[in-house]
């Protein structure tokens, strides 16, 4: 009977003999009856069996885990199930993308302001250099006129 002497949770619930090669036994141990009960309620034992049979053995564990997750979501929210979770996450993604776009725009603004500030400084220094040169010439002229 499955992996141990007691029938697996699925065979217990379905009230049948748990064969040695029971497809459910590895994934629905007898100490967790709720796990199979919930997937059976949402998907049905025969659908789960068909799903598992179509998968290679090494992927069945993950498939059972995701089926249990989906079944739990559907029991918690009979209208939207997992789709409710997906909608919520999609909203989060959209909000983050807006925040990211705004932050990147802010960086661009800062960079542009910084460039224009540097250009302004360079321009001002250039102007002040020209005025110094101009004044120096004036001083030379005035000193020459003093000794003249």
């Amino acid at each position: 009977m499955g992996t141990g002497s007691s029938p697996c949770a699925s065979c217990k619930l379905l009230r049948r003999r748990c064969a040695k090669d029971c497809i459910f036994a590895p994934y629905f141990p007898p100490d967790d009856p709720h796990k199979f009960a919930i997937v059976h309620k949402v998907f049905g034992a025969s659908n789960i069996s068909k799903t598992l049979q179509e998968l290679p053995v090494h992927q069945r564990g993950d498939a059972v885990s995701s089926l249990v997750y989906e079944a739990n979501a559907r029991v918690r929210d009979p209208v939207y199930g997992c789709v409710g979770v997906i909608s919520y996450l999609q909203t989060q993604v959209s909000q983050l993308q807006v925040q990211l776009a705004m932050a990147k725009a802010e960086i661009l603004c800062i960079q542009m302001q910084s460039k224009s500030a540097v250009a302004h400084e360079v321009q001002q220094m250039d102007l002040s250099n020209k005025s110094i040169n101009g004044s120096s010439q004036l001083m030379n002229i005035s000193s020459e006129s003093f000794w003249a």
Binding site: D62, P78, C82, L96, Q97, Q111, E121, S135, S136
Partner: protein, 155 residues
């Protein structure tokens, strides 16, 4: 599930049968609970749902809901069935994983960008070297120095 084989040949071309009843090869009653949500024009929608959930489970789930919530529930069930058919291992949980990864990457990118903003903002703070006043910048200071040192006779 009632099946009316005597009507089968006449109902084969019956346009009023919903996709569910067509698939299940049964007469589509006037009060068929699946008919509003599984129109004949979308046969694949019911085929997916039936493969994953089964017609009786879907019928039971919809019956347990108020009528005004059944359309959303049918859409959600159809979406979950579609994702499970596309990805038999993870189904809609695979979609959830992808979205969680995308959220994580966006959060990291946002944190990095905000750190850059903080760095730029800190770099642009004025330096505290002067007693000339809080508003003076380095360009104005330099001009003042030049004026004082090069035009002594004018003062």
């Amino acid at each position: 599930m009632s099946t009316s084989y005597s009507n089968l040949s006449s109902n084969d071309s019956n346009p009023r049968r919903c996709a569910a009843c067509k698939y299940l090869r049964r007469r589509c009653a006037e009060d068929c609970i699946l008919s509003p949500y599984f129109p004949a024009s979308l046969p694949q929608r019911f085929a997916c749902v039936h493969k994953i959930f089964g017609a009786s489970n879907v019928t039971r789930m919809l019956q347990q809901l108020p009528v005004d919530q059944r359309a959303q529930a049918a859409d959600a069930i159809a979406s979950e069935a579609y994702w499970r058919v596309q990805d038999p291992v993870y189904g809609s949980v695979g979609v959830i994983n992808l979205l969680q990864q995308e959220i994580y990457m966006n959060q990291r990118e946002l944190a990095r960008t905000q750190a850059q903003i903080a760095m730029y903002t800190a770099q642009q703070q004025p330096t505290e070297v002067t007693n000339f006043g809080p508003q003076q910048d380095s360009v104005t200071l330099e001009r003042t120095f030049l004026e004082f040192n090069h035009f002594p006779n004018l003062f």
